[in-house]
């Protein structure tokens, strides 16, 4: 049989039909409006940029980028996430704006995935970045916003897992191992490969406190347990102060009445080299991957020549829609019909002005207009 490439689309991308597009835009608008109400201003950046720009951020992994070459031989890439382009934008065009800067976005992003993985290669990310404030209040604001956005969207059963990569960094730095060993242990922690971690602990002969601390990093979770571990003492200095910060952030969230949505898990590391402080992921019942994620990345803007602390998060709109299982609400409005086109067109304008959709009927047969209105769920407005 003839292979009809012209009728199909590549794996990992998709069309949204009218109902789906309606649901998509509706939730997108609600969330973006909410960000704006919190004082976050929307920015729009190019869909593709130079590869070098993206290589400064998370997802430096070349394999996950869609790359192509322009006519001058420069390597371009489709954006795989929005934080790095925003960092570039802030470091170049928004340098003179008062700090802190609050920016938000809603954008298609692109990641190369093996087709058999069953993942989207193009999807919508909505997110915020709070730049120029390195304090704990900024951490709390972004976490609170993440929780409130999920509540606003109507996700019923969700939790934010809260980690702190500086704890792990502190413990790793105090291991006194060759770089190669640190990298291997980091890899095992990142992929949560506890089997490999154990064999590396054996291999490098780590004992006593070092061993206990590594094991704790991989498995410790729950507020009480993590805080008790912090008080036990013996942690390297960087790790101890990072944990203290985590506790402060959590206390603030509790004071804001948001404590129930958060749990501690030091195993959450996300993109480890890129984040510098708190990190978090949002999980929803029945979804096999995180719904949202973010954290503090104080080192990124420096790479663009404008050292600035920053924290933010992004949310996957397709995943959110999957959790909500939502279809667009029923279409409402009028089918405006009648023998005179100028008349119906004038009437339709009035209807639209009142905020209700008005669809023009292209014909003069009333019976046909009635039938069409019924089929499309519209009310017929017959103008004599």
């Amino acid at each position: 049989m003839e292979y009809r490439a012209k009728l199909i689309i590549p794996e990992g991308v998709r069309d949204l039909l009218p109902e789906e597009a309606r649901a998509f835009r509706k939730i997108e608008r609600r969330i973006m409006d909410f960000f704006v109400k919190w004082g976050y201003e929307e920015v729009i950046t190019p869909t593709f940029e130079f590869l070098e720009t993206f290589q400064q951020g998370a997802l430096r992994d070349q394999e996950s980028l869609y790359k192509f070459i322009d006519r001058r031989g420069k390597i371009l890439a489709l954006r795989p996430e929005m934080t790095t382009p925003i960092a570039r934008l802030v470091a170049t065009s928004l340098r003179n704006r008062p700090l802190p800067l609050r920016l938000c976005y809603s954008a298609r992003v692109f990641r190369y995935e093996l087709p058999q993985k069953g993942r989207w290669q193009e999807f919508q990310q909505l997110g915020v970045e709070l730049l120029g404030d390195g304090g704990k209040a900024a951490d709390v604001e972004v976490l609170a916003l993440a929780i409130e956005v999920l509540l606003l969207a109507g996700v019923r059963d969700f939790r934010l897992g809260l980690g702190q990569v500086a704890v792990t960094k502190g413990v790793l730095a105090a291991l006194e191992l060759p770089e190669e060993g640190v990298e291997e242990i980091k890899g095992a922690l990142l992929t949560k490969n506890l089997v490999k971690l154990n064999s590396l602990i054996e291999h490098y002969g780590l004992k006593g406190q070092k061993r206990k601390q590594l094991e704790a990093l991989a498995t410790l979770r729950g507020k009480k347990e993590v805080l008790a571990w912090a008080r036990e003492g013996g942690l390297p200095e960087g790790a101890a102060s990072a944990l203290a910060r985590l506790e402060e952030v959590w206390r603030e969230l509790v004071a804001c009445g948001l404590g129930n949505w958060v749990f501690f898990d030091l195993g959450i590391l996300r993109d480890f080299d890129y984040y510098t402080g708190i990190v978090f992921e949002g999980y929803a019942e029945g979804l096999g991957a995180p719904l949202c994620g973010g954290g503090r990345y104080d080192g990124l803007l420096e790479r663009f020549g404008y050292p600035l602390p920053a924290v933010g998060f992004a949310l996957g709109l397709e995943r959110l829609l999957m959790v909500l299982g939502e279809r667009g609400e029923e279409r409402k409005g009028f089918l405006v019909a009648g023998p005179s086109f100028p008349e119906i067109s004038a009437r339709a304008r009035e209807v639209r002005a009142s905020g209700v959709p008005a669809v023009l009927f292209l014909g003069e047969d009333r019976a046909l207009a009635e039938e069409q209105a019924r089929k499309r769920g519209l009310s017929l407005l017959w103008v004599e």
């Binding site: 069953g118 939790r159 897992g161 992929t191 949560k192 490969n193 506890l194 089997v195 490999k196 154990n198 979770r221 749990f263 898990d265 959450i268 992921e281 999980y283 929803a284 019942e285 029945g286 979804l287 096999g288 991957a289 995180p290």
Partner: protein, 227 residues
């Protein structure tokens, strides 16, 4: 209703050993068979569902969250590179991932790996990513030929120069006049978890992980005591 915990179990021999470990760990097992037409077994009272999957599919079920936990061989995990958490070495299903060659070729290479592993080799395997990564690390560009079974046939039929495959006793290799020349890694069954389930349903998962851990240790001790 009690929240159900879903565990993906591989069909076949690995699945049989997995079942005996479940039994040892005090998890429900009665009536579960890994070679049956029935593929889903539920224990509503205990809150368990078992999915019987093809071994290579276990990481996929777990990665996508169709199962919270799964039991899969390290060989399969290394090939799948699924985004799952690897929690426990369960200690059974031991095998090795090896490079093997026809005896004659090994003799021509005068028993030296560096003479044998040259650029341009044709490599037959069920594990194309594992094989590609191994030869990549050696800096040898090779041609990988993906097969679905009876890999040992490929060199005899002239389809490939060497194979990358798992061996447990080495008998199959011997019977087909093949020699193991490199052991890439050794493999056992692992307990894996979906990364969201591990965090969202931790309270549910934790006792199961602990029970399996204990059972795997007991099993190991029993084997040591017997030998």
């Amino acid at each position: 209703m009690k929240k159900m915990l879903t565990l993906a179990i591989p069909k076949g021999k690995l699945g049989e050993e997995a079942l005996s470990l479940l039994k040892r760990a005090g998890l429900p097992w009665e009536g579960v068979a890994t070679e049956d037409r029935q593929l889903i077994f539920t224990f509503p009272r205990e809150g368990f569902t078992y999915l019987i999957c093809r071994p290579v599919d276990v990481p996929t079920y777990v990665e996508h969250g169709a199962a919270d936990l799964g039991i899969a061989g390290k060989d399969v995990l290394a090939e799948a590179r699924a985004d799952v958490f690897e929690l426990l070495d369960l200690g059974f299903g031991f095998c090795r991932m090896v490079v093997a060659v026809p005896r004659q070729r090994w003799e021509e290479a005068r028993g030296k790996v560096e003479n044998l592993l040259v650029a341009g080799l044709r490599v037959a395997t069920k594990y194309p990513r594992v094989a590609a990564e191994f030869f990549h690390r050696q800096g040898k560009p090779v041609e990988i030929i993906k097969l679905y079974g009876n890999i040992e046939l490929a060199p005899q039929a002239g389809l490939a120069d060497v194979i990358v495959d798992i061996v447990s006793t080495g008998r199959t290799l011997k019977e087909n006049n093949l020699v193991e020349v490199v052991s890439i890694f050794s493999s056992t069954a692992r307990l894996i978890a979906n990364r969201v389930s591990y965090r969202m349903a931790y309270n549910l998962l934790e006792p199961v992980i602990e029970a399996l851990k204990k059972a795997a240790e007991e099993r190991r001790d029993d084997l040591v005591a017997r030998s």
